[in-house]
């Protein structure tokens, strides 16, 4: 464990900027977001969390997969794999965990996504522990925690004027080379321990009975009731660090164009509309059920883990205050003594 003075952050980031694309939280309008910074001063590390998760750095809202041009004698293709080296600074532990979940989808047994994976392999994640989890945070209910280092390369613990730096991987260590940081002494370690102890997630969500219910409640009338106030937008899924659905379109003009991948959301009617006009998820009920089932049942069936990290973003973004914590509770309770 090393020590980094807060006033060294700017110079450290400035040192990284020529070698990497450096992403850090910056304020945009009323909210924070991760943006590529050109100078270390732009990074704001005393923030709660970003509105859009850092997943958009590895899995952008919109990205070109390849471009094409029709020429006499054939078509010329140019692939658009992003091979730049990146560092993301200020990643919260819940978001770090979300990358491990996205890995399962984009780097699975049956399918390997070169666009995501190339970025992923070239990206170093510098985490920032949460001294004061928000009231909407429930990472501890999902086997995470405000100082979990899972998925990170470095973890910073804010102990006042300094960060205690936990070196998690070799890649993380490399980022600090040349900094000659002192090893954290007894006092700093003590301070970090105190900070960690006082950081409690006040929200606990009981997920114990949920999967059993979801295994059997596909046709339960509860779905219509739960979905009733849902507007069918994508505020929840686009701000979720684990949602990963996309749509592929061609944007072309004349003889050239690009194939583009955009985020898509299971809450939109168009998401499952077939060319025939048939829609297997015709109403909000089926679409809302899909969102919950995918996170808490299908992902568990497929990958052995829940696709929610408890970041609370969907709670803050939903325009009708449809709170996922209450949804989980209501589904679990509807089970009654049948379990």
């Amino acid at each position: 464990m090393l020590l980094l003075n807060k006033d060294q952050i700017t110079s450290w980031l400035n040192k990284l900027i020529p070698a990497y694309q450096v992403f850090a939280p910056v304020k945009e309008g009323d909210y924070f977001c991760f943006q590529q910074i050109r100078s270390g001063e732009q990074a704001v590390l005393n923030y709660t969390n970003s509105r859009i998760p850092p997943k958009e750095i590895l899995f952008p809202r919109s990205e070109k997969l390849f471009c094409y041009r029709c020429e006499t004698g054939g078509v010329q293709l140019t692939e658009q794999v992003d091979e730049s080296k990146k560092v993301v600074v200020g990643v919260r532990p819940c978001d770090a965990k979300s990358f491990l979940l996205l890995d399962k989808v984009f780097n699975g047994d049956q399918y390997v996504d070169p666009y995501y994976l190339t970025r992923r392999n070239n990206t170093v994640l510098v985490g920032l522990g949460c001294n004061q989890p928000a009231a909407t945070c429930f990472c501890t209910s999902l086997s995470g925690g405000p100082f979990s280092a899972e998925g990170l390369d470095l973890l910073f613990v804010d102990i006042g004027d300094q960060y205690l730096v936990e070196v998690v991987t070799e890649r993380g260590k490399e980022l600090l080379s040349g900094m000659e940081l002192p090893v954290a002494g007894q006092e700093a370690q003590e301070a970090a321990r105190a900070v960690k102890e006082s950081a409690v997630c006040s929200t606990l969500v009981d997920l114990g009975g949920l999967k059993y219910r979801l295994d059997v409640n596909f046709d339960d009338p509860i779905w219509a009731l739960l979905a009733e106030k849902c507007l069918g937008c994508a505020a929840c899924t686009y701000t979720c660090p684990t949602c990963h659905c996309f749509d592929i379109v061609d944007e072309a003009a004349g003889k050239e164009g690009c194939r583009i991948r955009n985020w898509d959301a299971c809450m939109f009617p168009l998401f499952t509309l077939h060319g025939s006009g048939h829609n297997p998820r015709p109403t909000g009920k089926e679409r809302f059920r899909q969102r919950i089932m995918h996170k808490f049942k299908y992902f568990v069936d497929n990958y052995g883990t829940i696709a929610c990290v408890g970041c609370g973003r969907c709670i803050l973004s939903c325009p009708v205050n449809l709170d996922i914590r209450q949804v989980i509770e209501q589904i679990s309770q509807a089970g009654g003594d049948q379990q």
Partner: protein
């Protein structure tokens, strides 16, 4: 507020018990401070979940289109104006709807609260006598309610329901309509065209195309939104295309001309805090000036596009 909550509960309970309606759409307590949430009540005893507060920010008319059952709705000024337009557009059957009108004192803008608290987290709030007490982990502040209300509420010319079957509570005084085109700090009309463009591009550079604005609007109900249409593809699907984000809002707002009641529901729904009110307030003002039409205030007056053009 407490009296209104009681009156709403009683009314809803009675309507359901007497089987006058099958469903009451209103607001319940929300899961966040200063937040209420839409709720659907079907059994008389559940009417006790209904509340009235400063977080009843959604326009409930969005839930009333083409419903099969007989139902009641708790409607503040703007909800009632949207209901009027929806009746005129044959989306609501007046015979099947009981409107429980509630005069509105304005709703609290949680974005203003967050700006005021500058990063400190709000954990509890209480509104009393025009004062809001905000509480967090290690702070407590009292602020004037007026400072925290939505811009659209501060200038709302029709806070009292324009159409209702039952009116609960005392009517409230209407605000002046003169500041309508000023969406809060942004004086839109004073801006030069290039500044307007720059402002919209800066705002909509944050747009993620989640379409919460469209989904929250009672008047956005096209079977196929032009933004979703793929043949032809009117605009790029990519939210990184800021020009098309602006184009989306421009067309959306024009499609709503003469129909939008400037309730601000779209603006409040936006998870990115994009100022959409600047567009809807200017558009409604233009419709008033050019066509002499105010959406939602009268069941009889024909909408500008349906009315015969006067050539005098």
């Amino acid at each position: 507020m407490r009296e209104l909550t009681g009156a709403i509960q009683e009314t809803a309970e009675r309507l359901l018990r007497d089987k006058e309606v099958e469903l009451v759409v209103g607001f319940a307590a929300g899961s966040l401070p200063l937040r209420n949430t839409p709720c659907f009540i079907r059994r008389p005893h559940e009417a006790q979940n209904l509340v009235w507060g400063y977080g009843c920010e959604n326009n409930l008319a969005v839930f009333l289109r083409r419903r099969p059952e007989k139902l009641a709705v708790v409607a503040k000024g703007c909800d009632s104006r949207s209901i009027v337009e929806l009746i005129k557009e044959n989306q609501i059957n007046r015979e099947k709807l009981v409107i429980i009108g509630v005069p509105c004192r304005g709703m609290i803008d949680r974005r203003k609260v967050n700006r005021l608290l500058a990063g400190k987290e709000l954990l509890e709030a209480e509104v009393n006598d025009g004062q809001v007490r905000l509480k967090g982990r290690d702070f407590q502040e009292t602020v004037l309610l007026e400072q925290l209300l939505h811009d659209s509420c501060l200038t709302c010319p029709h806070p009292n329901p324009v159409l209702y079957d039952i009116l609960l509570g005392e009517p409230v005084p209407a605000k002046g309509a003169d500041s309508r085109s000023k969406a809060g700090e942004v004086d839109w009309e004073a801006k030069a065209p290039a500044e307007k463009r720059a402002y919209l591009f800066a705002e909509l550079s944050r747009c993620i195309r989640c379409y919460a604005c469209r989904q929250a609007c009672p008047m956005c109900f096209c079977e196929e939104c032009f933004a979703d249409c793929s043949v032809p593809e009117w605009l790029s699907r990519s939210s990184l295309n800021v020009q098309d984000n602006v184009f989306f809002q421009a067309v959306r707002v024009i499609h709503l001309a003469g129909r939008c009641v400037d309730c601000g529901a779209c603006d409040r729904a936006c998870p990115m805090g994009i100022n959409l009110h600047v567009l809807t307030s200017k558009m409604t003002k233009d419709v008033q000036e050019v066509f002499g039409y105010t959406a939602g205030v009268s069941l009889e007056e024909k909408p500008p596009l349906a009315a015969p053009i006067s050539l005098t």
